[in-house]
Amino acid sequence: MSNAVSALEKTSFEGFAKVSETGLRGMITLRGDLSSKPVKDAVIASTGAEVPDVRRMSRGSIGDVAWMSPDELLIVCDYRAANEVVTTLLAALDGAHALAVNVSDARAVFRIEGDGAREVLAKVAPVDLSTEGFQPDDFRRTRIAQVAAAFWMNSDDSFEVVCFRSVAQYVFDVLKVSAQEGGEVGFL
């Protein structure tokens, strides 16, 4: 068995907010008709979470489920559990028209925590990150500076950012600059 490592091996940076790479994370892309019973049932069976509303994330005992598009979900779970979640999903789908793939190794995840977390993201993504505009379990696909990314907010007010593994260093560097001491805007 090869020794799987995450893109930046938990590198972190402490500015007016803390930015850290979170290490390996299980991620599964599920595409299908999100309003159909087989897909809804398969999501609950494999994660314990319901199919989320538009631009939301729902939480389950095995995995969290994020709304990516009208026909796509992202399941976030423990890295080692990902293959089993896919197996459960496919078994529950039982031939229904859908697709589930373990994409964990194609991605990197960053956590942003601290009072300035909203600001760190607001400076690099075209998203309303005011307290009214973005709440825990809100989920948004967008861009971070020049690359595609997605993020959600946790109940402890921290944010987690997902990007492609190939741009992990770029995203970390951008977030680091955005979180630098002295770069506080103080607006959000």
Partner: protein, 109 residues
């Protein structure tokens, strides 16, 4: 800056989250069509001063294609709508008519 609401995820997306995908409602002419039809399909485009219909893609977002109706002179956006349609919805056409009575664009008016 142009802001368009994506009809699929509801986000008011600003231009940098979107990608322009050319003219809306093109009819494809492929195998079996005449050279003239194929040439028109490939190259002939509307370039109006005023009301225009375009395709956009929420590329840095949900990834879906959608349609937008807007004015190329004032940049006013009349509305965005689903990609799964052959023509603009009536409410958007009404909105344009209120502002530009007698407008027309290809076969629409």
């Amino acid at each position: 800056m142009l802001t368009l609401q994506c009809p699929y995820c509801g986000v008011d997306a600003e231009e940098t989250e979107l990608h322009a995908e050319g003219e809306a409602h093109l009819k494809r002419f492929g195998p079996g069509s005449s050279d003239d039809e194929f040439e028109t399909y490939l190259f002939m485009r509307e370039n109006p001063k005023g009301v225009h219909f375009e395709r956009w893609r929420h590329s840095n977002g949900c990834g879906k294609f959608f349609h937008a109706a807007r004015s190329t002179t004032t940049l006013e956006v009349f509305g965005t709508y689903s990609a799964q349609t052959y023509e603009p919805p009536q409410d958007i056409k009404d909105k344009i008519s209120a502002k530009y009575p007698g407008w027309s664009w290809r076969d629409f008016s």
